[in-house]
Subunit: 265 residues, 2 copies
Amino acid sequence: MFTPSSVHPKVMREKIRTGEWQSPTAGCSVGYVQANLVVLPQALAYEFLLFCHRNPKPCPLLEVTDAGDPEPRTAAPGADLRVAVPKYHVYRGGALEQETTNLLEVWREDLVGFLLGCSFTFDVALQRAGVPVRHLEEGKNVSMYITNRPCRPSGSFAGPLVVSMRPIPAALIPRAVEVTARFPLAHGAPVHVGEPEAIGISDLSRPHFGDAVSIRSGEAPVFWACGVTPQAVAMHAKPELMITHAPGHMFITDLSEEELAHSPM
Amino acid sequence: MFTPSSVHPKVMREKIRTGEWQSPTAGCSVGYVQANLVVLPQALAYEFLLFCHRNPKPCPLLEVTDAGDPEPRTAAPGADLRVAVPKYHVYRGGALEQETTNLLEVWREDLVGFLLGCSFTFDVALQRAGVPVRHLEEGKNVSMYITNRPCRPSGSFAGPLVVSMRPIPAALIPRAVEVTARFPLAHGAPVHVGEPEAIGISDLSRPHFGDAVSIRSGEAPVFWACGVTPQAVAMHAKPELMITHAPGHMFITDLSEEELAHSPM
């Protein structure tokens, strides 16, 4: 009997490789870190790596593969980035060209894979700490907004910070900061609390990505740096070739969520 | 009256630029972060940046400049890396070619500057927390050892982890871990406690770099990742051109030590 929530990431990745699992990965291999995938040609890898270093809150880099090597040796030894995500998006010149279930035909010897932490990890940690996570309660996607805060540019990679928003009861805001600050590789502490106008957000009920959620009396909107930022920035740079996971169809690493809260070995 | 310990980094850097200050920077601009400097040609910058990302404990990267731009825009806006360090070492093909007080003649449009955190910051924090720092007490340089632990390689950059060692009374080891863990950009928590043989160190009284210090009864040797690691690894890669600060003659940033303990903005 196959239970996606409780199997080891190796098992999930095998089901994904063989095509038995083609759905979003939310709720799979609970307790293990899921990652955003960005693949770029080596010629653009330096500028993108530097962009991630300069903007660590939206771009928490878990691993960068060697050019041509599809194995993320630290995050998931033995895995193959070409067959480990249920659905990929292939962009050329900034435009979506293809949706595919593997990269075996698209892969090139000059491609570099970037795995970036995602907020699945801290949503779980917030819930465990008794902080409500509205979009999960309401069965929606998190609300995301383009801010007026520029990222620090790197070559052709430049653009505004994108944030996700969770409405938090005033008394729980300190706890929400403490809990998420433990996970710098999953976007870490919030970047802004309340006052959406101050970061260029005029209407919380109209997010740029994802769904609107209800904000109750006594709650403030709390904003975290969002992993959509590097994808938006990379898209805007119109790279010759860029490959990402399809939304929600993440790469499941072998890293446990607790490992992200500790300093690296 | 000029008091090096209490002036702002901008003032110290101006004294260094004009040649009025040509000495080591220990004790200058107390409370501000000092950094190791590594300058490499753009052609090698990707591999070195990736090496730093893969080995964050020995290589805590504070800033990477744009190619040809000598200004570290985040760590010290307005500063000029070519005239901001009292003494530079210029290496060609892995060999020391020149010691110089500025880089005005050596600078090229393809050079990239890397600023890496150093342990000055946490030595001060340890002392403030009541943890003895033996090499400071004894007026010596910290003891450093080459271990048998390989760094994660990146292209031509590969080699063993170098560690610094401080003898700590057993009862204060947890505090030493807590205090230094707050500063991931100054090497963070230790990598090893006691048992030097386990990491390939056979004789603590004969460090590979720096001075031996006395280890008293009831103390254990505690090991931290050391900023000599990236310099040793880069030297071993024999780059066409590499420039570093001369030992002890550091780059003084505008970042306060407390800023390093917080998540980036």
